[in-house]
Amino acid sequence: MTGRVVVIGVGNRFRRDDGAGPAVIEALRADPPKDTLLTDSDGEPGRMLGLWRPHDAVVVVEVVHAHPGKPGRLHTLTAERAARCAARSASTHALGLGETFALAAALDRMPRELTVHAVEGEDFGLGRGFSTAVADALPELIRHVAKAIDQAHDRLRCASALSDDRGSA
């Protein structure tokens, strides 16, 4: 069965650098890739888990902290690595992205493949607009995500062809 490519920009566009994920989605919508669902999310796990199906390839675009940090640095993470980065949160309302992936795994709700393209943020204050480091990194992040979408489609096509071959054998 062929899945879709689902691209999720996680973040809040009114919290400075945290809006980088939705900004990437906005940029991709100018020339939307075929068979690709472009969407943004606040990262709330219930809604995140509802965005993909088992056969989909999911690309998450996110802003992260790193220790030591270098604002603007790009990262590509597997879901497993992102889940390992999950810190125990005492929040009463929200789980982090890592916890969301771990929850998906616990519920057997992981998609066929899931990767995270992230940029290290610097300014998470109120308002719109990015720090210079994130603004400078955005074009490259968009290119990375666009390339990831193409590659995901290739893999989905291969998987589908293999599946068809097995079906006809």
Binding site: V10, G11, N12, F14, R15, D18, D42, G43, E44, P45, G46, R47, L49, G50, E62, V63, V64, H65, A82, C85, A86, A87, R88, S89, A90, S91, T92, H93, A94, L95, G96, L97, G98, E99, A102, L103, A106, L107, A118, G121, F124, L126
Partner: protein, 451 residues
């Protein structure tokens, strides 16, 4: 374990740092001398930048205060503006507004019950571990939540920060056929909600009781959410029985509920007639329990909450999870009733022409009473905005609850508790009240001072 000095425990999240809460607990000679919950809360900024805006803008702007309960902010803002302008929204438009609000309730309460609160009772550090052992329950919670999401998307245009709400009604009202797909989801959610009540009723609940006054909307004949008048159930001295309930007309809210600044928090702390008080699920259940939907009434009785029809009151903050589950059953049942009876209005909104006036309103956000007041000039330009969110109102009551629970633990014979145990106890006590710590808080830092 050191009994002197201070210790800081930091709990970080992976990313998305948007808010902060910390707890400062001081224990001296075995007595809790301070329990301070510090909340960073954005609504004060919103009040400032609403001034100078048009009278049609508060629903969209204030919805941004909270990603979990934007409809509460939208509904309360609409009602306050409409009241100022002398306009009443009723009939199918009011029912649609209520349906949207139920969608938010279903989503918000299901999230808190299943992913955030239940792990405390089942000995798991998070929803992830809970899901590994109680997968069916977590799946059920996500199904209920998805039903709420779907209502939000259908009526609000999207599940977060709905865009279809306007002063006077909606930009677009659905045809009956557009609501039909919700019915099947909500029917399943109703079964799931009743199952959830049975599930949480089986948890172990520590003894605890909140003795102070309870504040909730009251609309006789209806479990008040978006209608009625604020009402106060008086404090009780140790008994679990119902105390007198007295109306607090919304126009008197700011005279009776006084906010004050405290040095340890950027959030204002509220007092009702000079005392801390509780708003939220326990208060609603105490004031309006008898008017729950029949299926939710039965569920409450079976869950051991007593008989709401005869005025049963629950004052144990740990049992708030049962009350929330009952409220989800009620919200789903009521949503189905509204959809079954729906006949589209002739217009999607009522015109709300501005006039120089002031209007206030209160509704029940999932975590408690939310109050708005706006003043406008002749062309509708806002000259004042005032927003009192539930968590600020509950802050003093939560601190009192923390003091009591920690003291109770310290007074227990045997080995004195370590910081880790106290941290877990405090987090659990805070979660009982489902606070919205700036609605985006990602960590709780605890400082314990021992001396």
């Amino acid at each position: 374990m050191s009994h002197r000095g201070s210790r800081v425990l930091r709990l970080d999240a992976l990313a998305r740092v948007e808010g902060e809460a910390s707890l400062h607990l001081a224990v001296r000679d075995g007595r809790v001398t301070e329990a301070r919950l510090r909340i960073y809360e954005p609504p004060r900024f919103f009040e400032a930048f609403l001034v100078g805006r048009g009278h049609g803008e508060p629903p969209d702007i204030t919805s941004r205060i909270c990603g979990i309960c934007p409809v509460a902010y939208q509904t309360t803002a609409c009602q306050a503006i409409e009241r100022a302008c002398g306009v009443t929204v009723d009939g199918p438009l009011a029912e649609l507004r209520r349906l949207l609000y139920y969608g938010e309730w279903i989503e918000s309460q299901a999230l808190h019950i299943h992913l955030l609160h239940a792990p405390d009772f089942l000995g798991h550090p998070s929803a992830v571990e809970l899901a590994r052992e109680h997968r069916a329950a977590v799946e059920r919670g996500l199904r209920i939540k998805q039903a709420g999401n779907t209502v939000m998307e259908q009526l609000g245009g999207r599940a977060i920060h709905p865009i279809n709400v306007r002063v006077g009604g909606f930009y677009h009202v659905p045809a009956p056929a557009e609501l039909v797909p919700l019915t099947e989801r909500l029917r399943r959610a109703h079964d799931d909600a009743l199952e959830t009540v049975r599930w949480v009723a089986g948890f172990d609940f520590p003894d605890a009781e909140y003795h102070g006054p309870l504040l909730a909307m009251c609309d006789p004949g209806r479990y008040a959410i978006d209608s009625g008048t604020p009402a106060v159930m008086a404090a009780v001295a140790g008994s679990n029985g119902p105390a007198p309930v007295r109306a607090l007309p919304v126009e008197e809210f700011e005279r009776r509920v006084v906010e004050r600044q405290v040095s340890h928090s950027t959030a204002l702390v509220s007092e009702l007639d000079g005392h801390h008080y509780l708003t939220g699920s326990l208060a609603r259940y105490a004031v309006s329990g008898r008017w729950l939907h029949p299926s939710a009434l039965d569920a409450a009785r079976e869950a051991g909450l007593g008989d709401p029809a005869t005025g049963a009151v629950c004052r144990n903050p740990f049992r708030s999870i049962i009350v929330r589950a009952v409220e989800v059953a009620h919200a789903v049942a009521e949503a189905l009733r509204i959809i079954d009876a729906y006949e589209p209005p002739s217009r999607s909104y009522v015109a709300v022409p501005p006039r120089p006036a002031t209007g206030c309103a209160a509704t029940e956000a999932p975590r408690g009473l939310l109050y708005h007041r706006y003043a406008m000039d002749a062309d509708g330009t806002l000259t004042l905005a005032r927003i009192v969110p539930p968590t600020a109102q509950n802050q003093a009551a939560i601190e009192d609850d923390l003091r009591r629970q920690v003291q109770s633990r310290l007074d227990r014979p045997g080995e004195p508790p370590g910081d880790e145990e106290l941290t877990a106890l405090c987090e659990r006590a805070v979660r009982n009240h489902d606070p919205c710590i700036s609605c985006s808080a990602h960590f709780l830092d605890l400082t314990v001072e021992r001396g």
